[in-house]
Amino acid sequence: MTTLADPPKEQFKLSMLINDTRYRSLTFQALAAIALALMFWYLGNNLIQNLRAAGLNISFDFLGEAAGYDINQTLIEYDSQSSHLRAAIVGALNTLLVAFLACITATVFGVVAGVLRLSNNWLVSKLMAFYVEIFRNVPVLIWIIIIFTIMTAVLPGPRAFRGDDAEASMLFNAVAFTNRGVYIPLPWFSRGIFDSAALNWLLVLIVLGGSWFASRKIGQWASKVQEKEGVRPKTLWFTLGVWIAPFAVLMLIMGLSWQMPELKGFNFQGGIKLGGPLIALWFALSIYTGAFIAENVRAGIQAVSKGQTEAASALGLRPRRVMNLVVLPQALRVIIPPLISQYLNITKNSSLAIAVGYADITATLGGITLNQTGRAIECVMLLMLFYLTVSLLISMGMNIYNASVKLKER
């Protein structure tokens, strides 16, 4: 009688690192990691040795020194005696501002163009195809320069607004389009509740936030009533009242006034100036990335099975409601992931601002500061850190949103 012995226990042999599929992938990853570490060690060593040979060192002390240069668009207090660090923050805020504005408008352009490209109207769909192909296939730097050049060449200088028979005039006496930017009236409060303008604006935001909350509550109440009684109560007047009444009362109390831009000296003074570089960069990034987003939207819509549309139509929904209630919510799952990279692209592409003299972080920290202090390595490291942080934050935020709209599987 034979007994069944356990299969012989496998001995671990060195050759299994290569031959055994269980270990092979780990082996190669380990080797790659070692090679990568060696390469960085070599590069770092090389850098340190070269710096030492040149008598240079790595130091971030320059960030505390006075910058000595002026910046034409600052969202926070800044003058030429502020530190390099503050100049970098001014640049960072400018980068975030243009990226934020461009993300919003690019999304609007993208969704509109993407939906219209699938329109049954031949002219509309071909026009949108034209827009997408033209803007997607020309580098964004070219678009920035084209728009900026057109703005400076076509729009009149402030000089043209001077005199009794001026060549140019302001729109409604309130908005001036010049080759240096667009000047619009500035709202301000003559009887502000707080002394600081920022606090007053914060109050306005809080009131608007309260209105939004209240209007949501009204919607929820309406849904509840609808579920119970089958008829949705009319909420339009309630909602409008909740939005308008508190806002209007607040404006009356604080005494809303408008400061009009006026031609004084060399330039328009007063009001809000939207600088030419900001407009050019914002618009160029929006239409360029909008074309990419349009393709994402189109792909997302086409990924929704045709049966969904047909089923929705069979229920008697009109085309617009089919799109809003059935197709777009499902398409969103396909649209969001590539949209994340488009938002990242906008943020990174905003560093092309230097082409038109927009003071983003690449222009302040990575440009003037780098140049005046000669601290190229430190400045570029800080720049990389900034863009990396912003990109990861955008990615994180969008991924959280994506998780909330994606198909829930159980």
């Binding site: 040149a54 034409n72 060399f266 330039n267 440009g367 000669g374």
Partner: protein, 338 residues
Amino acid sequence: MKKSVFLGALTLASMGAGVAGAATLDDVKARGKLNCGVSTGLAGFSAPDANGVWEGFDVAVCRAVAAATLGDPMAVEFVSTTGKTRFTALASGEIDMLARNTTWTFSRDVDLKFEFVGVNYYDGQGFMAPKELGVSSAKELDGATVCIQTGTTTELNLADFFRANSISYEPVPIETNAEAIQQYLAGACDVYTTDASGLAASRATFEDASAHVLLPEIISKEPLGPLVRHGDNEWGDIVRWTLNALIAAEELGVTSANIGELKAGTNNPEVNRLLGTEGNLGEMLGLDADFAAKAIMAGGNYGEIFEKNIGESTPIGLARGLNAQWTDGGLLYAPPFR
């Protein structure tokens, strides 16, 4: 075994990278070409002509150094640099020297570890405005929009000037001179500021130069000169004394026209030492005895280079002013060749 060879090679390579750049002259000779950094194109100072050959006042310094070290004024590889890239290009060894109307400042000399070998143009920052603006002084520029080349000392001087006079302005930072001029002519800025020589050079290229005025204020000292990296003093000496040779040649009356005659020997010992017929100055630099003669023959002495490229007979039309020889009341003063 293989691994230790690899590591050894790495160490050697990193050490090699560390010491490279110490003997720039050897590198230049081995390469057979001088890598010289110049600006991206400023009429009269450095710009390619119709045949693509670089010429100009700064270019002449490069050519003189190439002639002194390699014997051939055309053996230059011109690397055009912007205000932002110039120092990185020099520090990294991409170029052997920089001749790009660069202002000699303390921090560039000391903190950035460069060595300014002398001054080839004494300049100051000025303003250019359209005549129709009706401005006659820079102090009337309160509220003006000012186009400025970013990353230069002019940016700092401008901030200081407006701050000192308690007036405001709006800077429009531009990357290169050409773009700045385009913006200025389109009226996107009221005035353009840069070194007065650069303003004159740019104005000369305008369709209607007379419609623009240079304001009288000069708001800074801008000693412009060639520079090299710290740490290779022999190479610094070569560039310094090549520049000095051009200046001394004008003072001593040595021109490209009479140099052949003077090379045969004169009874002025300093001319003889300069041209290498007496003494061993060239040898001390590790160059040929007639290095200075070659440099002068490349484009003439300082005065000739000035007249040919930016002088009053050229469209740029700069007067010698501060840049006259010390004997004529200017600041040019070459230390003695002895």
